[in-house]
Amino acid sequence: MTWAPFLALSFEAFGSLDFWIGAMTLAGIYAIFTLGLQLNVGFTGVINFGQAGFMAIGAYTMGILVADVGLSLWLALPIATLVTMAAGLLIGLPSLRLRADYFAIVTIAFSEIIRYVAQNARGLTGGNQGLLGFDSQWIDVSNAVQDGLAPVGLEDQFLAPLLIVTWLTLLVLATALRYLQGTPWGRVLRAVREDEDAVRALGKNAFAYKLQSIAIAAALGAVAGYFLALNLAFLNPNSFEPLYTFIGYAILILGGLASFFGVIVGSVVVYTLLEATRFLELPLSASQVAALRFVVVGLVLILLVAFRPQGIFGKRQEMVLGD
């Protein structure tokens, strides 16, 4: 074996604006997605493996309301968010009393049920053909923003408006969540993470807090789902495979538990890696390259867990002390 193929590696992609706009849009979307996981796992001690399912419910509800029902996109967004939160409550009510690991199993099953419904309820979701035609109102806005970007020379980047809106939303949400963590409400959540019985013994309804945590995470999943839908311009069940929940967990571990800004950095790292490996010029087939992307992310995770188990921004003490 020679090193030649590796020398043929091209770093051209890193210099192109297209690459960064595409990768950072995805990073923003999955950072919003993972903020929900962080709230559940890092701050409430609830293991949610169903985040892709909530993302699907939000995205499809929005898509169906606009494309099939004919609602305005701006009306469909809040309705779809409420529907997704209701789904979060629905899954949480019977199953949040289960121990953490059993709850995790319930949520992954739930998210797969959602995906199979999306795949098979063809009249409603278009099945594997996909759902189209929900983004015309967004495209109007996007075009206006794009024209406004002419002074900075971004008028050729049709994805730039989505990138900007995604990141503004992400920063607002992360800041809001961080504020909430500093409130007495956030303190009860963290206490639930530490010991539910102690919380109940002190007069707090631990169950209600876990439900709120799931409902908010579901809403964050839905918001990420809207941006994903606008990014792809069509909805397909494959976008909501459990794989994406696990990419969310990779982001979570990389960024560090119990840090919302860690999520943002984690997502930037993971999506830079995932997107950059697309451009590797190796003597491999397309499917091998696709697999290699995850090998690279996996290697980074292994190195991280070995040398910095708390992640980039996590607090080591909180890991060690969590009995």
Partner: protein, 258 residues
């Protein structure tokens, strides 16, 4: 005499074929210190769990200050100012000591999302009060210098103190302590007992505690309730219970008369 603060009548609980609690009845008088004793496996902790709502009894009634509380969830019972500690301390390890304390305070609108949104100034004012009270209590319990440290860094004895201090943040009328002295060194234990007496005498807080150390029980309680095999077999002042034949039998085994 006024009615008791806590009245437990004929409570029973069966786990599969085991009758963990089988006909337990006793009263806790207002402003008293009552000890609950009995051999290992007598059902003391299970009874505690039932009284505080962590387990549901199969039968019997529990009345707190004239109000039925059996079949209520633990958090609503705690809000009636009856608070418990656990045999194995439940310090919230990855949270600072001060947050452990502040968490326990009642009537904080900032603990609810609606309260945060609509009553933010009230929540902020309350938080200030809560923190002051927390620092006062930490001072009393000699944990002031640990306020900002993670609770997980405390020693076993300090955790017991923290748990009692935290329970007091609830502004309780009745405190249930499950083996407060277990694993605590004698001087810390002495301090814990002093605090208990002081709170009882000065603030009228009522205590019910499970304890195995007979010297502690005899010296520090107004009343002793004895459990054996799930049932309460005796109750009364320490001196009287000590000479009760049923109690002696339960602890030492009944003498087989030839």
């Amino acid at each position: 005499m006024t009615e008791p603060l806590l009245e437990v009548s004929d409570v029973a609980k069966q786990f599969g074929g085991i009758r963990a609690v089988d006909g337990a009845s006793f009263d806790v008088e207002r402003g008293s210190i009552t000890a609950l004793i009995g051999p290992n496996g007598a059902g003391k902790t299970t009874l505690f769990n039932i009284v505080t709502g962590f387990e549901r009894g199969d039968r019997g009634t529990i009345v707190l200050d004239g109000e039925r509380i059996d079949r209520r969830p633990p958090h609503t019972i705690a809000r009636r100012r009856m608070v418990r500690t656990f045999q194995i301390t439940k310090a919230l390890s990855a949270m600072p000591v001060i947050d452990n304390m502040a968490l326990a305070a009642p009537d904080q609108p900032g603990e609810h999302l609606t309260g945060l949104l609509l009553r933010a100034p009230v929540a902020r004012r309350r938080e200030k009060e809560v923190r002051e009270r927390a620092h006062e209590l930490l001072e009393v319990f000699g944990l002031s210098d640990k306020a900002e440290e993670y609770a997980g860094t405390l020693s076993g004895g300090q955790r017991k103190l923290l748990e009692l201090a935290r329970a007091l943040m609830v502004e309780p009328r009745l405190v249930l302590l499950d083996e407060p002295m277990a694993g605590v060194n004698p001087s810390l234990g002495r301090r814990l007992l002093d605090h208990m007496h002081e709170l009882c005498e000065r603030d009228g807080v009522t205590f019910l505690f499970i304890e195995h150390d007979m010297d502690v029980v005899m010296a520090h309680s107004d009343k002793v309730v004895v459990m054996a095999q799930g049932a309460t077999i005796a109750s009364g002042p320490p001196a009287q219970v000590r000479s009760d034949q049923a109690v002696i039998d339960a602890y030492l085994g009944a003498q087989v008369k030839a």
